[in-house]
């Protein structure tokens, strides 16, 4: 890999000099409002303050978050399956951010793919637990006695340790009288800022308050998810689910994707699809393939939600003195939303500190990070469309299963299908990289052999 990126480092420092006279440059005492205290908001605030400190810049950062992540259930939840990808766990560690054991409910060491034609367990390529199953909030509504710590609360704590202030006020409006964002509150007070970072996700109405902004931010395309918590015992969850995420490729009409994630004494069921309704959820949970992978004594908690999931990229998630990070702007298709929150949050913070907060600054220095995610999503759509075609045919399901099983059984076998499934489900690699892997002669050859053998049932 070349180090052409070194020019970007030089560029960053060159930006420091030019920002002195820039009216959009942040200065000592500049005020930044972060709307939303989930991962993207906290990552943004944390890196903003960390980088500002490195160049002796004193900023005032307010994080507007009405929820307290100390509460169980919806009052402290951000409605998410709660997986931190393998790549993000590694990058966070390299950044010096070690996730505490109290936050990580289960370290995931394998994914088990369940199909009507059989199951295959795909182990972590490095035989390590590098994927974190966790709760974004403080766990399910009925989880008060479980020793949980919120992931979002942990990240928010990192930002507040750096000096950010969490404000519980409800924002009722945004005005731009002098080109700067003025936030208006329910008690009729208002406050002026030099930059507003929108990290409110797609399930918040805050974005509607930006209607008056010249950029006219339109909502991104979304789909629905279904998340339900089931309570069992830690022993039973470990016995049945182990330290594996269980994913299902089933030929159920309208069914796209579902996973069961073990978390301490709970199991989180996550389903994604445009056409999700109670009937489809019921059909899925009662499918024999799902039943055999489900803890027998698991009972549904009161905690169930159907959050919106961002499917696309905003064309321009920024403007003068405003930037949209995480789900509010651009996120990865179906997977690794927290990873996208990290990447866009840090890119926006770097831009604001080293370059400025104008539309041009964000376009030049923030948009490339978003664009690389958006471009990768385009390839991801092809991958998921192909997956849908393959999972809907018994023959191709059997071929996928056999190829992955053979790779997992043989020591030293190059894991073409296993790597593809692992990366598809974990979101650990860019879709572009997975796509390129499918053109490898070994992948094509083994898939053809597996397709041929799929015509005959497997001999035990």
């Amino acid at each position: 890999m070349g180090f052409s990126s070194q020019s970007s480092v030089a560029d960053s420092f060159a930006g420091l000099a030019s920002s002195e006279e820039n009216e959009f440059a942040l200065k000592d005492g500049s005020r930044i409002a972060v709307v939303g205290g989930g991962p993207s908001g906290s990552f943004f605030a944390y890196f903003l303050l960390k980088m500002a400190e490195a160049i002796d810049l004193e900023l005032e950062v307010d994080i507007f978050e009405p929820r307290s992540f100390q509460y169980c259930g919806p009052a402290g939840c951000n409605h998410c399956g709660g997986i931190v990808s393998e790549s993000l766990v590694q990058i966070l560690s390299a950044e010096g951010i070690v996730l505490p054991d109290t936050v990580v409910q289960r370290g995931v060491e394998s994914y088990v793919v369940h199909m009507d034609v059989g199951d295959v367990s795909i182990a972590s390529p490095v035989n390590e637990q590098r994927i974190a199953a966790l709760y974004r909030g403080n766990g399910p509504r009925e989880g008060g006695d479980a020793p949980l710590e919120s992931f979002d609360g942990f990240l928010q704590g990192m930002a507040t340790e750096r000096g950010a202030r969490v404000v519980r006020q409800l924002i009722t409006g945004v005005e731009w009288p002098d080109g700067r964002p003025h936030l208006k509150f329910a008690d009729h007070s208002d406050s002026s800022y030099d930059l507003v970072a929108v990290a409110a996700g797609v399930n918040s109405r805050f974005i509607d308050l930006l209607d008056d902004h010249p950029e006219g931010f339109k909502p991104p395309k979304t789909t629905r998810g279904y998340i339900c918590e089931f309570r069992s015992t830690e022993e039973e969850i470990l016995r049945v689910l182990g330290s594996s995420v269980h994913v299902f490729l089933l030929d159920i009409p309208r069914f796209e994707f579902a996973a069961i994630i073990p978390k301490g004494p709970f199991a989180t069921v996550v389903m994604v699809g445009d056409d999700l309704d109670e009937e489809l959820v019921h059909t899925f949970l009662n499918d024999p393939v799902v039943q055999r992978a489900f803890p027998t004594n698991a009972v549904p908690c009161v905690c169930t939600c159907k959050p919106l999931i961002n499917l696309g990229a905003r064309k321009r998630p920024y403007g003068d003195r405003v930037v949209l990070v995480g789900d509010s702007g651009v996120t990865r298709l179906y997977k690794d939303g927290i990873g996208a929150a990290f990447r866009t949050g840090k890119a926006a913070a770097t831009t604001a500190v080293f370059h400025g907060v104008s539309r041009g600054d964000f376009e030049k220095h923030f948009w490339p990070a978003c664009k690389s995610i958006a471009n990768d999503n385009a390839v991801g759509r092809i991958m998921f469309a192909t997956n849908t075609v393959m999972k809907n045919s018994r023959l191709t399901r059997r071929a996928m299963l056999r190829m992955a099983q053979r790779e997992q059984e043989r020591d030293g076998a190059r894991p073409h299908m296993s790597s593809l499934l692992w990366n598809m489900f974990t979101g650990s690699a860019p879709y572009t990289e997975m796509f390129k892997g499918t053109f490898h002669p070994g992948f094509i050859g083994n898939l053809l052999v597996s397709l041929g053998s799929a015509f005959w049932p497997r001999q035990k």
Binding site: M1, S4, S5, Q6, S8, V9, S12, M51, E86, S87, V89, Q90, I91, S93, A94, E95, G96, V98, L99, D101, T102, V104, Q105, R106, G107, E109, V126, N127, E128, Q129, R130, A132, E234, L238, S243, G264, R343, K346, A347, T350, A369, S372
Partner: protein, 125 residues
């Protein structure tokens, strides 16, 4: 292995990387403590450092194709996370500031090394 934990557990004395071996990964201590030791010319073991949660090692192998310059082993039970070269370099390409984080620690280590060399120099004068 502890269920709510990331990385791999190494028992007391177990080697995580071995001097002279090739490797392309960096490691970050998640919990516990590890010791960095180096084999001397006469075959003895020279203690170099103890590393704790949040500290990393093995980063030199990410940036250069050389064998490991020291052995790192667990002191008591330690949990350590492996970071792939590809993942790290891909991210550094997108976000060069990540490298600054690594440079900061590497710079501190060079400073310590310089102090050690100066101390040894004084001893031998």
């Amino acid at each position: 292995m502890v269920s709510g934990a990331l990385g791999k557990i190494y028992r007391d004395g177990e080697e995580i990387v071995s001097q002279g071996n090739t490797g392309e990964s960096m490691y970050v201590v998640q919990s516990g403590r590890v010791e960095v030791v180096q084999t001397t010319k006469n075959g003895g073991l020279q203690h170099l450092a103890y590393l704790e949660a949040g500290n990393f090692f093995g980063e030199m192998s990410v940036f250069e194709k050389e064998v490991r310059s020291a052995t790192v082993r667990a002191v008591g039970e330690a949990r350590v996370l492996k970071i792939d070269k590809k993942t790290l370099l891909r991210r550094i390409r997108e976000d060069p500031l990540l490298a600054v984080n690594l440079l900061k620690t590497m710079s501190q280590r060079i400073r310590l090394l310089n102090t050690e060399i100066a101390r040894h120099g004084d001893t031998h004068l």
